[in-house]
Symmetry: C2
Subunit: 287 residues, 2 copies
């Protein structure tokens, strides 16, 4: 399949990501339907002009006519959905998902999926610290990174649809990684940072700490407002990679601590200069 | 002394903080002079209407007529300045400073300072990850926290000037802490977070990591762009408090790691919920 303005797109799961995708694609003139569990979220999506059609039921006719189905569910819910409803897909349907861990999802889904339906996975590197469709906005995707994690089972045309989808939604840098590379990278960039933010909220219980805080601490803990159901799942589904990145972090942190303890001012300054220099690379491109 | 629109204010050090103070106070109708080391920064400050008068010289007449002197220098530079030039102060002058560590600065300065001049220290909990007057803006102080660290040597009227100064510049929550309390708090909120940000830039050298990053990682490392000369000084001048907060952080982080290793989903969720709940307190008040 090729992504055109006539492609019938179905989004399963209208949360922050599903809702943002729906709005971005509808705004670009695509025909977007949605299945999600709460009626109120459908109403919200209609009111904001995010979808052409929405339902809380897994409607056979809707699924059959959908050519591109994007799953924006928790990892385990996504896998269960495929097991339960994959018989409803029409031959040739392309399915993709936005889950934040890949090895533990992609291979399982590809192994259980019908042979006449293709599944290619991707990960939008954008989100918000609140959950729910009412917090969704396509703005967070502007200039953000987008990772596709194809396997040997994927076709060039499926990849091309992912690239087109990412561009239409507003992502800037689109990359391909294996599921394993993705998980190692994301353990560092995303799950580790959430573990740090949560820890910063737990390691010091001084009363009224908030009266003394500056923006640095606020920035480092923005993501400590965390959806515990989803993130505990992401942590555990990427356990080995995350443990290994936590250990790498601790190793470097202890090295810095050692320099401080030894009054090694030059060592501290060297680390700080190296950090400053590398951080330049991570600035978000301005569009 | 009392802060009035006629108070002759001198700011020593036109960087991000000194420059921001100068602009905020001038905008409020105060008469602000400045001493700073680069002529170019004086020119910049004139052009932007930040000061009434500026010089790169330690001018005797200027210092003598100044009633409130605010030092916005590195800690060691501030202490050296006092040693070298305190004979120029007029009796009754109030001096204050913005340095980010207190125990190692406040007691030393108070012990060497002339008896007829009062020194009260404070810490504005706001800044920017760039240095230099051209990055200064009073906006960062709006709604920010302001900590005064009085000692037994300080008078109520000096405290009152600090409160007035903070309000005029735009700070929201003004608190008092002992220098020791301040240092422990700030080791956690500020120096520890900078140590974490620097570590995050150093613990994983995967090439092209920036192609895959999301905003979480960007937020946690914004302050990894760090002024190494100033921050190495702040770390070392607050070494014991910072080491102790680094250890508290590692202890909590290892607890979270243990839960992950033990597949303790409920434990992880409990930590995440507690973090989410506490983080609400840290949101910046909107004015």
């Amino acid at each position: 399949m090729i992504l055109t303005s006539n492609t019938k797109i179905l989004i399963v799961g209208l949360g922050v990501i599903g809702g943002g995708y729906a709005k971005a694609l509808t705004d670009k003139g695509y025909r977007v339907s949605a299945i999600t569990k709460d009626e109120a979220d459908i109403d919200y999506a209609y009111k904001r002009g995010m979808i052409e059609y929405g339902t809380t039921e897994v409607e056979e006719a809707l699924i059959q006519k959908s050519e591109l189905i994007i799953f924006a569910l928790y990892p385990t819910v996504f896998i269960d959905w495929i097991k339960k409803y994959q018989h409803l897909f029409t031959k040739g349907t392309l399915i993709t998902d936005v889950t934040g861990v890949k090895s533990s999802v992609v291979y399982e889904v590809q192994s259980i999926l019908r042979e006449d339906v293709e599944y290619i996975s991707h990960h939008p590197m954008a989100g918000r610290e609140r959950s729910g469709v009412e917090y969704s906005t396509p703005d967070v995707f502007q200039g953000a990174n987008f990772i596709i994690t194809p396997t040997m089972k994927n076709t060039e045309s499926a990849k091309a649809v992912c690239y087109a989808l990412a561009r239409e939604i507003g992502f800037s840098k689109i990359s391909e990684l294996t599921p394993e590379e993705h998980d190692s990278m994301i353990a560092y960039l995303s799950q580790l940072t959430h573990a740090i933010a949560v820890t910063l909220m737990r390691a010091n219980d001084a009363p009224e700490l908030e009266k003394y805080t500056g923006d640095s601490f606020r920035d480092l803990t923005r993501i400590a407002k965390i959806n515990d159901a989803m993130w505990s799942e992401l942590f555990l589904l990427n356990k080995d990679a995350l443990l290994s990145q936590m250990d790498a972090f601790i190793g470097s942190f202890m090295k810095l601590r050692g320099m401080l303890e030894a009054d090694d001012k030059e060592g501290l300054r060297r680390e700080m200069r190296a950090a400053t220099c590398r951080r330049e690379l991570f600035d978000k491109p301005t569009k």
